[in-house]
Subunit: 343 residues, 2 copies
DNA sequence: GTTGTGATTGCAATCGGTTGCAACTATGTC
DNA sequence: GACATAGTTGCAACCGATTGCAATCACAAC
């Protein structure tokens, strides 16, 4: 910038004003043009760090998620980015593998970079970091999963309860009366909310509902939980509502290993409607969650908080919808169930 | 930091030395302890921007990709991050949608943030930005896809040619002698390399090989290209080697729409081995590319370049391997081909 | 001719660390 | 006791912008 000032024969303060859109009108148009020419010919690139240092603003947002390879996160992050980049913000990404130590490290590292705010998608129910952040006056928005306690931060999720209700209604309409819920780990609020909604929905409709809990939101955990469900005595349920698409996929693998077919023997509904579900075997019926929009809304909320300087802990529950594909069908006549099912 | 200095009764220069691991041994251990206590009690968080300003180092790396929701990128980025974060670097993410203007904007925006280097996964064959970056002395590593011209930047890819050869060999072993290559768009080098390898492999083995080119590396484009291939006269080929898993998926959709089954009527091989392929219908045989490792290697190369201050344009081709699943099988007797196939 | 007004521009402090250099202290050596 | 040496710490300039305040200037009004 000093070079530009020298080249155009003005003080660097004037250059600063000329190059900043907000103060551009304070400088004479002929000077402005001269400065702009000088800047262009010198290939001047402003230093956001220096500007940020002075204005204590970094124009960056920290995004903390457990694992980018979990298919729900890429769309969320794209959504976030779609709102950030037009406004000049950039996303700093950190994965935590849901590890407490990595999570602290990521938080700290982003804090050291003076991010203007955080978008957090880890969603562990109890989180000391949140209280800490709140106390420190950090701007933050929770996405996808909330926390058990009240937090001072806004939250953007899908409407979990209504998604589960839609899934149950769909199965009921097909003729199922005995359902299994493949719940997610208890330390995630989304899992808790969905499990509660399942209980409530089956009770209301007078259905039999059983629940098994997977140890993680993953294919492996879903499969293990399903294995367990299939090993305990006589199976009565004819359909499964999973808390997550990955668990649903694991469940289908387990069913297949036990000689049961989906949807012929057992119907399965997933949750999130991750990409490519229609190409799966069978194409998975799932609750569509507007992940992109979720990320975008979270980013909007965060920027609002950053720019107004205050946040209200609203909860935004985005509408979801059931996408019916090939993994759900009317139940078979129980008498024709294959023997293996009872093993 | 001034507060910490005040509190511990030393000069801020000393605090700086005490808190920096590299200069920590220059300060007396009792003073050090006093400073650390003061820092902790004050909740001091160093400002990386300020430090970066002085040292002209930002400890950040810009990652430019076309689209995070393309399933090959999340693993690559995880790989990158796994190398960056232990060394104190953070990734700044930017999507470009393969748009030239967005790409320039992303590059510029990251440059303004004074990233220490770039990892670029866009892979358009001709790229003015690369020449520009090279001229500006920017550190950069290309990942997944290279460029047609020689660039002064290192490149990390999978071994495309050997992957295609493995796919062809596998199909030959099954008894196929007439293959179709579903190529990727010509403006991506990976597509070009794979197409050339296909030509070469079929020629060497004395097979008939046809090529159709998809307009993008996507399901839709793959499907469209396949539709086209199926509409042109009599089909002789019995297997398809796609340039990419998404194209393969699109091809399978097209086949299905034309009343052809995979692998019964037509075998299909994908490329990249993206996640969840084994749950697809049919489970897709694909060339496994070590995406995580690719990202990690790119990050290592970049950090090396940043820290040594010089880069050599090496090309690292990571070994790939064919993962055989359910989408490939021996060809049917041509006479039993369903009539639809000839439509 | 004087004064007021608004538009430009210069000045210099500041943001929060880093670092070469100088100063000071304690210890050891002859 | 003088002096060299190593270990600590203070000093102050600097990184590259931003911005409140003051200075300057041109022009119009009186």
């Amino acid at each position: 910038m000093a070079d530009v000032a020298l080249r155009s024969g003005v003080h660097k303060g004037t250059v600063s004003r000329a190059l900043n859109p907000a103060t551009r009108d304070q400088v004479n148009s002929s000077t402005l043009e001269r400065i702009e020419r000088a800047a262009a010919s010198l290939g001047y690139v402003p230093n956001v760090m220096a500007s940020g240092l002075r204005r204590s603003l970094s124009m960056t947002v920290g995004v903390i998620i457990p694992d980018l390879t979990n298919p729900i996160f890429p769309p969320i992050i794209r959504g976030i980015e779609s709102e950030l980049s037009p406004r000049g913000y950039t996303a700093l990404l950190a994965n935590t593998d849901a590890t407490d130590s990595l999570e602290r490290a990521a938080y700290r590292s982003l804090l050291e970079r003076r991010v203007d705010g955080f978008i957090v998608g880890t969603g562990l129910t109890d989180h000391p970091l949140l209280a800490e952040a709140a106390a420190a006056g950090v701007r933050m928005v929770l996405v996808n999963r909330g926390t058990s306690e009240r937090t001072p931060f806004p939250l953007v999720t899908g409407d979990d309860a209504s998604g589960i209700r839609a899934a149950v209604d769909h199965l009921v309409a097909l003729g199922h009366t005995d359902l299994l819920h493949l719940a997610g780990p208890k330390d995630f609020t989304s899992a808790l909310v969905r499990a509660a909604a399942f209980k409530e929905a089956t009770r209301r409709r007078g259905l039999r509902g059983t629940t098994v809990t997977a140890s993680a939101f993953s294919i492996e955990a879903g499969r293990a939980a399903m294995d367990q469900a299939l090993q305990t005595g006589t199976r009565r349920w004819t359909a499964v509502v999973a808390s997550n698409d990955l668990e649903a996929l694991g469940a289908i693998r387990s069913l297949r290993a036990h000689g049961l077919r989906c949807p012929d023997d057992v119907s399965v509904v997933g949750f999130n409607d991750m990409a490519f579900l229609e190409d799966f075997s069978p194409p998975l019926t799932s609750v569509h969650v507007p992940l992109l929009e979720m990320g975008a809304e979270a980013a909007r909320l965060l920027i609002l908080g950053v720019e107004t300087g205050s946040q209200t802990p609203v909860t935004v529950a985005l509408p979801v919808s059931l996408i019916v594909r090939g993994s759900t069908a009317p139940p078979r006549d129980p008498r024709t169930l294959p023997a293996l099912a009872y093993s």
